[in-house]
Symmetry: C2
């Protein structure tokens, strides 16, 4: 990169965009210093600074999906020019920290007033669903107690959750995060038969999923399998409540 | 936002920039779908898509410092136009997942070939330094054994680490991530005196930090305090080795 913009002009635009609470993108040659709970320095390089409308701030290098530096919303952002460098400071008081970006060159500046009110919907994995059921076994039914998860089936396969119901009957649980198919039911019946061969009793079989195909519904009675409707979303809520998870941890 | 760019033209630019491994920024009105280990949908809204030179990909809404969707480097990225929409798909095979971005409108497109080879240096917090010492007590000296961290001092204060040395002598450790001052030494002596009042023996006192002020050095002998040079960087390396931490977890 080479063509450089006028730093005084950019400083003016920045102040204006910050006041208007726009999304701001600045590309240029800059250094970054962070001082707070920890501290960090990033030498001169060509990269991207993003300031969002809530005054959260991100520094992104040309590679890697994680920002190299960032500050959460409501940072106090100051813009100034010192010795020919454009300096952007983002401060927070609790914890006391300051992120300082020093531009030697600005190659690109743009700002946008964006409108985004869409809902973000996240659906859990089968692994998440299993964790939620192990955490709250009453999701299956009152009195259900898990004994084992990922129980090995001979010669092949794994039972998602193996447990006993309130009447003490062994129960095999298969979890799907999508529409149950006839093939899923056949697989569960195969697990049931393996358990019967191994332990001498035929267990109850429950398939857990948010929905089931019409053709598969007919197979339920035929094979003596029960369907329990549990959505991945519900499971995710249980996990979030239990762990206080942030989205980025998924 | 309103002024819309020609989608066919943008699709062409995108393909070219992807081949050239540029950093790409696209702002517009779009939906996002993710399907993989979990799944998510994000309805129509005005936001920012970033594709980096390593083909990692980020979707950022106008607020919040976390991306709403993202894919790590080396995603396989396809660009196409279907029913007048610009569609960008980022796929990975292990785990099998696909992120689909559907643009109804594009307001801004820019791409940059950036050069960023600077070193990122991160220095630990006092809390991190304490964790590293608890993990590797020989950082203090051979045979040092921590007994308690954050030991309450009456009437006020906390000892960072309370332990015994190889000769069985009680030891009080104070940790600083910066230059030790005379005031830090006075505080440590105050802790030592509290312990002496409480337990009837005067403990050894060690102040741990990367450096010490000249004036504070003189106080060391005066008050019988030892200085142990340990850098926050060294502590961070120990923690990283132990936990395989990513930067974003700090």
């Amino acid at each position: 990169m080479s063509d450089s913009l006028d730093i005084i002009e950019i400083a003016g635009k920045l102040k204006e965009s910050l006041l208007k609470r726009e999304l701001i993108i600045v590309i240029g040659l800059f250094e970054v210093y962070y001082e707070g709970r920890a501290s960090s320095t990033l030498g001169l390089g060509e990269r991207m600074l993003i300031i969002k409308s809530d005054h959260s701030i991100l520094v992104h290098r040309p590679t890697g999906y994680e920002p190299v530096n960032w500050q959460p919303p409501n940072s106090k952002i100051d813009v100034k020019i010192v010795e020919g460098k454009l300096i952007i400071e983002a401060r927070r008081t609790r914890p006391a920290e300051i992120l300082t970006v020093k531009f030697l060159e600005v190659y690109h500046y743009s700002s946008f007033k964006l409108r985004d009110e869409a809902e973000f919907q996240m659906y859990a994995t089968e692994e998440d669903m299993k964790k939620a059921i192990l955490l709250s076994p009453s999701l299956i039914e009152e009195g259900f107690k898990p004994i084992e998860d990922e129980r090995k089936i001979h010669p092949s396969g794994f039972i998602d959750i193996f447990g006993v119901d309130s009447s003490g009957r062994l129960t095999v649980i298969e979890i799907k995060r999508k529409n149950v198919t006839s093939e899923d039911i056949r697989q569960l019946v195969h697990y049931v038969e393996s358990v019967e061969r191994e332990l001498g009793v035929r267990p109850r079989a429950i398939i857990v999923a948010p929905s089931i195909q019409k053709s598969a519904t007919r197979k339920l009675t035929l094979y003596g399998v029960e369907f329990k409707c549990i959505s991945p979303k519900k499971c995710l809520e249980i996990l979030k409540k239990a762990k206080g998870l942030g989205l980025f941890t998924f």
